[in-house]
């Protein structure tokens, strides 16, 4: 990230997102601080999908008519855009799934079950999202594979010594780790961790759900074996996600779901598989959603990922500063230099759900709960936290509204202003 960044015109960007221009409640401007759960979509993305349905829809692949050709071009064109966006070596390495969760399950079902033997070790971490825990729990139960968890330090970082000890001492076959924590904001040093995993003979899967939307991710520079992410967190539609995998790995993997498109030839006796990426895309895919994801990638690319990151950092740093002034407020996660995009906190004497509800009443949308990271919350010693998360359309005004609403909540609970 050494390129110079240019400041973005946030007012113009906000104008691209129709949903932002509303009152959450009468007289209360919507202040949307829940993008880590799912981001909003610019008009360009919404229109790309409507336009697709109004002009170009048909089922893709092998249709010999003009609509099917257009639909196929939209769908495969999106694959090429995603390929360029994460700098994959080939569009064949881009598998369209429903979401990050399905991408990770695909690795577990296909690569995992074909490759792993009882006693093999998969390394995860204590800060993982349930989507990067539960598929491995299911796998472990069915195969006798062992799971190890990198602990989270008091600073909210991965304990890399423990990681290295696992790599040194255990038959680690795969490491699967989030790039950026959806709760702590921690940006994990995946590039170094991948190099260390490879040196130990293990593969490395990156849960990019919270990184790909916010910073430039280059799978070849990282040397990631797999990368999973969701369109809906990166200005794209719901219903589509991505699994990137190195071609040789994907080639060697058995298919996951069976059905149309993913076969080469079917007889009553059995089937042979289609080439990549189709081998992993059974049935009619999310065609309009791919068109929408392509438009999202164009949108983010035009803004520039480094510029987006720089802007979010300004907003998040400001939020950390202002929040830390609030009496009785505890912030979670590492210091500003090692984090990105979210501010997670608790308030003394007000449960996170009550916080979220009181903030909502002021028009401020945050998320409260365990954020699909129950083990991390156990580690933090709290059942629930409140989280404000930022995207390119958020401003310092939004942070001010958040802080003001928190003071209001304190007043309602009789805790002073």
């Amino acid at each position: 990230m050494t390129h110079p960044t240019v400041p973005l015109d946030i007012a113009a960007i906000r104008a691209d997102f129709p949903i932002l221009d509303q009152e959450a409640h009468p007289g209360k401007r919507l202040v949307f601080l829940d993008s880590a759960a799912s981001s909003q979509k610019p008009r360009q993305v919404i229109d790309a999908m409507s336009h697709y349905y109004e002009t170009s829809h048909a089922n893709v692949h092998r249709g010999i008519h003009v609509l099917s050709e257009r639909a196929t071009a939209a769908y495969e064109g999106a694959r090429e855009k995603v390929c360029a966006f994460i700098n994959a070596a080939s569009p064949r390495e881009i598998i369209f799934t429903r979401n990050t969760t399905e991408s990770i399950n695909l690795i577990a079902y296909s690569w995992g079950r074909a490759t792993l033997r009882p006693g093999d070790v998969i390394v995860l971490s204590e800060m993982e999202h349930h989507s990067n825990l539960v598929p491995w729990h299911i796998l472990a139960e069915q195969t006798g594979v062992h799971l190890r968890y990198i602990p989270v330090t008091d600073e909210g970082l991965l304990d890399l010594d423990a990681y290295r000890a696992f790599l040194r001492e255990e038959p680690v076959r795969l490491v699967s780790i989030m790039h950026v924590s959806n709760v702590l904001g921690t940006v994990n040093p995946v590039r170094e961790m991948i190099a260390e995993a490879h040196a130990a003979g293990a593969l490395f899967a990156v849960d990019g759900a919270q990184s790909v939307p916010h910073l430039a991710v280059d799978v070849q520079a990282l040397d990631a074996d797999f990368l999973a992410f969701s369109a809906h967190k990166m200005a794209g539609p719901t219903g589509i996600g991505v699994l990137y995998g190195k071609r040789a790995l994907l080639e060697a993997m058995p298919p996951f779901l069976g059905g149309g498109e993913m076969i080469r030839r079917v007889t009553l006796e059995g089937s042979t598989w289609n080439d990549l990426p189709h081998k992993f895309e059974a049935g009619t895919p999310a065609i309009a959603e791919a068109a929408g994801l392509g438009a999202a990638v164009d949108y983010l690319g035009a803004l520039g990922m480094d510029n987006i990151l720089a802007h979010e950092k300004i907003v998040a740093d400001y939020a950390l500063d202002r929040l830390s002034e609030i009496p009785g407020l505890t912030l979670y996660g590492p210091d500003a230099s090692q984090r990105n995009g979210v501010a997670t906190f608790t308030l003394q004497d007000i449960h996170a759900h009550d916080v979220a509800q009181l903030l909502d009443a002021e028009g401020v949308a945050v998320r409260a709960g365990h954020h699909c990271a129950m083990p991390l919350h156990k580690r933090l010693g709290v059942a629930a936290t409140a989280r404000a998360s930022f995207y390119v359309y958020n401003t310092r005004d939004d942070v001010d509204a958040l802080v003001e609403a928190i003071y209001n909540a304190r007043r309602v609970f009789g805790l002073g202003g």
Binding site: A361, H370, M374, A383, F413
Partner: protein, 131 residues
């Protein structure tokens, strides 16, 4: 601020009948709402006519879940098991007296769920579908 009327905050901050479990207890049950981390543990003592003589709650969670337990606990003292059986969501919502979104409904109804499951277990019944 309809949602956090003074009496709800008061019940949330000073819940009635909260404390150590009754011992001996005629009815005991606990459950939680793992999505929220809300947790409640209920003990009840009955008199000879099977009326609620004493109530004790223990728990933690949001104001809505704790206040609803506090209010419900006050409400049921002196009631028969039959009357407890007939309590429903609306009774709890009336006690709270505020509109709730589906997410918060789960918080509000945890106390009722624990109460009814305890009563039903005492009577040897199973809890009805979607009750």
């Amino acid at each position: 601020m309809d949602l956090y009327m003074e009496n709800i905050i008061d019940h949330g901050q000073h819940p009635r009948n909260f404390g150590e479990p009754l011992d001996p207890a005629d009815i005991e049950y606990e459950d939680d709402n793992p999505f929220c981390g809300d947790h409640l543990h209920l003990t009840l003592q009955l008199d000879e006519q099977n009326r609620v003589k004493a109530v004790s709650w223990q728990g933690e969670g949001c104001t809505i879940s704790q206040a609803s337990a506090s209010m419900l606990g006050e409400e049921i003292i002196g009631k028969t098991l039959d009357e407890l059986r007939n309590l429903d969501r609306q009774d709890v919502l009336d006690l709270l007296g505020i509109p709730l979104s589906p997410t918060r409904l789960k918080c509000a109804l945890l106390s009722l769920k624990v109460l009814k499951a305890g009563v039903y277990a005492h009577l040897g019944w199973s809890v009805q579908e979607d009750e």
